[in-house]
């Protein structure tokens, strides 16, 4: 038992206070898994020394896959032999992170059998993280997982586990079926998920509307964000009700509209839908009165990533609108072309967003066969350094080269 086995003076401080404590979780797990005592011990050491005690990397995995396991070794194995190996498995979550009690228990059973009993529900990319086991247990864990219908997620230079917002399962604003798309992308690209063949990682995230509850525009190489093309659906009676209940429609709604395309005369709300940029604000404030239009689909954006190493990127518009029922096909076709170009020209560890910046958006569009549209840019160029192409320029003969 943790309480007997290890002294955790510092960590014990983190059992106090109203927020649920991860230290308590580790201690709970240590009741059934002795490795957790050593984890506590090493963590306490880190807290004393203000320094991590894990070695760099480690190359382990399950047979045939190039990802899904993060190898991890202690740099003080003599002190904490039970965490000398402490690898994690990334288990691909079900779309939308829905579970039944049974499914959860199945996962618990497997992980108690083979590992520390510690998890992250979930990892930042969306996977179920099985936190800490030994090399010998990897293959058996994998066998039990697949038998139970689960498979590994990604790590290394692969497509990563796609994720999505709750979407049509529980949200009235989902402009397409995010969970279905997420599931189908995951299934379509099983090979790309498990066998590294890219210059670097590639992430998909599917959000049902511009609220982007899965942070796709900030965190995925390919962001699919629901939107609509026609007019906002408006229920005037419900608008009146909000007003009657005290909502200041002018101030709270109209004044916050980014394009100021809404007018409220005290009785009637008028939206100039031609000017609306589908930001969702008015809908968010009055969900009973306003809803996205009926012609639904998504905007496809490309290139988000964290800052390493050229600076963080947000995704940028690639296709302004794809109807909901054409999304999967369009994405498959597009993704094929993107991956082909990226695999051919991407440098090692170059994310697709960085590649686009390096070669220029226009060249990237050429390569993947898309026409430039003004929706792709916040503004046209302001510098005069245009690479006019040969077809446009008519170079004359001369003594030049």
């Amino acid at each position: 038992m943790a309480d007997e086995g290890v002294k955790t003076t510092l960590l014990d401080e983190l059992e106090k206070g109203p927020w649920p404590s991860f230290v308590k979780e580790i201690k709970k797990a240590s009741e059934t898994s002795p490795v957790c005592d050593d984890l506590l011990g090493q963590l306490e050491l880190s807290y004393e020394e203000k320094k991590g005690h894990w070695k760099h990397g480690g190359i382990v995995g399950v047979m045939g896959y190039g990802g899904g396991v993060i190898g991890r070794y202690s740099d003080v194995p003599e002190k904490f032999p039970n965490v000398a190996h402490f690898h994690t498995l990334r288990v691909n979550h079900p779309a939308g992170w829905f579970y039944t009690s049974d499914a959860l228990r199945t996962l618990c059973n497997i992980w108690e059998r083979h590992g520390s009993g510690l998890t992250n529900m979930h990892g930042s990319t969306g996977d179920i993280i099985f936190l800490g086991t030994k090399t010998d247990e990897l293959e058996p864990t994998f066998a039990d997982l697949t038998k139970a219908g689960f498979d590994l997620g990604g790590s290394g230079s692969v497509m990563r586990t796609p994720s999505c917002c709750v979407g049509q399962a529980r949200c009235e604003w989902a402009c397409y079926d995010t969970m279905k798309l997420c599931y189908e992308l995951t299934q379509t690209y099983q090979d790309e998920l498990h066998r590294p063949a890219f210059p670097y990682k590639y992430k998909f995230k599917c959000a049902g509307c511009p609220n982007d509850c899965v942070a796709s525009i900030a965190r995925s190489d390919c962001s699919i964000i629901g939107t609509w093309k026609d007019d906002i659906q408006q229920d005037d009676a419900a608008v009146a009700e909000y007003a009657a209940l005290g909502l200041d429609i002018q101030k709270d709604v109209c004044d916050n509209c980014p394009t100021k395309c809404m007018a409220w005369d005290g009785k009637k709300l008028t939206i100039d839908n031609h000017e609306c940029v589908r930001c969702m604000h008015c809908i968010n404030v009055m969900p009973k009165a306003l809803r996205p239009g009926k012609e639904r689909g998504a905007t496809i954006l490309i290139g988000a990533k964290a800052p390493i190493i050229q600076g963080a990127l947000l995704s940028s518009v690639l296709i302004p609108f794809v109807p909901a029922d054409e999304l999967l096909e369009t994405l498959k076709e597009l993704t094929g072309r993107i991956w082909e170009f990226w695999s051919e020209y991407g440098k090692n560890r170059e994310r697709v967003g960085e590649l686009i910046q390096r070669v220029g958006m226009a060249n990237f569009l050429d390569a993947i066969g898309l026409e430039p549209t003004p929706e792709m840019v916040a503004a046209p160029r302001d510098n005069p350094y245009i690479f006019f192409q040969k077809e446009d320029g008519k170079p004359k003969d001369g003594d030049g080269q």
């Binding site: 960590l11 109203p18 927020w19 649920p20 979780e25 797990a29 807290y47 203000k50 320094k51 991590g52 894990w54 760099h56 190359i59 382990v60 047979m63 079900p94 779309a95 829905f98 039944t100 009690s101 499914a103 228990r105 996962l107 998890t119 992250n120 529900m121 930042s124 969306g126 936190l131 990897l138 066998a143 038998k147 219908g149 689960f150 498979d151 049509q168 529980r170 949200c171 009235e172 989902a174 079926d177 599931y183 099983q190 511009p210 609220n211 982007d212 942070a215 900030a218 509209c257 930001c279 969900p287 809803r291 964290a306 800052p307 390493i308 190493i309 050229q310 600076g311 963080a312 947000l314």
Partner: protein, 362 residues
């Protein structure tokens, strides 16, 4: 990669289970047919379908790092109150899906008794998206879970109450790799190094490819050198900005250091397209030393920013929208955070961040 012998008939490439298996029958029935939602109480949402059906979601805070024991607990609760149906959110909270309004209060009571606060909806502070820290990563400049716990303890009331001007999203990443994707958060807590890589001269030639290593440095601080007659590298310290990219590709270049590692705080990012376009977080506090187990200076800094925001922002203004309204000088004035040379960008887009107008408040 070391793999252990696999059983004869291995199952691979099956992907995750189909989500439909896990959907509450009422959700399956009304899939894509939701009409509107409203807040029932803090942490409790009511979604109403075109059919008139209603589903209630009760959201509980989670430390994310969960023992199977706790997961079993959640499973038991789900079974007891909602037919075994639950989900986790994109911010690692757990949501119980109920079709019976009467069961909300009992569930809440039980959750609270077990130490799981209910909240995080609407204009509350939700869970902190975070990463591994000293619990599992080799790369960390700080711990993750310990800071999250300390900050959420202090912000607990902001989780259980929906009384901020708008949503306020906090995220933490324990190094510049930013697995916590903190770069677009209202408040971002980011572990930073301040010590150039300390080259392990002995191991370097054994474990690293030198050309790859040299190429990895964005500032060109790494040059080839020889050590004991063997090829190695040296680092021009003035050129190092501690990104640790060299360490990612070469284990012989560790940067971590008890005195020089610590925390930076960033503010004003957002992800949603609501009102304004998504924005990056900007530097508020360049450095706070690591002070485990409870990082009091970090907690104070975050709480201070939250309080100033809560007091001054207008309704529906996210952190970044508020700061854009009042201007950055005023943000520093109101929070009392000193403005330093480190706040002035000097990376590739630096020129675009200088104040190129005379719009100044005095």
């Amino acid at each position: 990669m070391t793999t252990t012998p696999a059983p004869a008939k291995r199952i691979t490439d099956i992907g995750p289970p189909h989500y439909e298996k896990f959907l509450h029958p009422l959700i399956k029935k009304n899939y894509g047919q939701w009409k509107y939602h409203e807040s029932v109480a803090s942490g409790v949402l009511r979604h109403v379908a075109e059919s008139g059906d209603e589903i209630y979601s009760v959201r509980a805070g989670s430390p994310r790092l969960l023992s199977t024991a706790t997961i079993r607990l959640f499973a038991d609760l789900a079974e007891k109150y909602c037919g075994g149906y639950l989900r986790f959110t994109s911010r690692n909270n757990v949501e119980f899906l109920l079709d019976d309004r009467a069961k909300i209060e009992p569930l809440k009571k039980e959750l609270l008794a077990l130490g799981f606060p209910v909240g995080g909806t609407n204009n509350a502070i939700s869970n902190i998206v975070h990463t591994q820290g000293w619990v599992h990563c080799h790369s960390s400049a700080t711990d993750a879970s310990g800071i999250v716990k300390s900050v959420m303890d202090a912000l607990h009331d902001r989780f259980t109450h929906e009384d901020l001007p708008a949503k306020l999203r906090i995220a933490l990443a324990c190094c510049l790799n930013m697995c916590g994707a903190v770069h677009c958060s209202d408040i971002a807590i980011l572990g930073v190094h301040r010590m150039p890589p300390q080259i392990s001269k002995e191991t370097l030639p054994k474990v690293c490819e030198i050309p790859t290593l040299i190429a990895s440095c964005p500032t060109g601080a790494i040059r080839s050198a020889t050590y004991d007659g063997k090829p190695s590298v040296e680092v021009t310290e003035e050129q190092c900005m501690f990104c640790a990219n060299c360490y990612t590709v070469c284990p012989a270049m560790p940067l971590n250091d008890p005195e020089n590692d610590g925390i930076s705080i960033w503010v004003g990012g957002k992800v949603s397209n609501a009102r304004s376009a998504p924005k990056f977080s900007k530097l508020a506090i360049p450095f706070i030393p690591n002070n485990p187990p409870r990082w009091p200076e970090v907690v104070d800094a975050v709480v201070n920013i939250v309080n100033v925001y809560a007091k001054h922002a207008r309704k529906y203004q996210r952190m970044g929208e508020w700061i854009e309204r009042i201007g950055w000088p005023r943000f520093f004035e109101l929070t009392g955070i000193p403005f330093t040379r480190y706040h002035i960008d000097d990376f590739r887009y630096a020129g675009t961040t200088y104040a190129r107008s005379t719009h100044i408040r005095f």
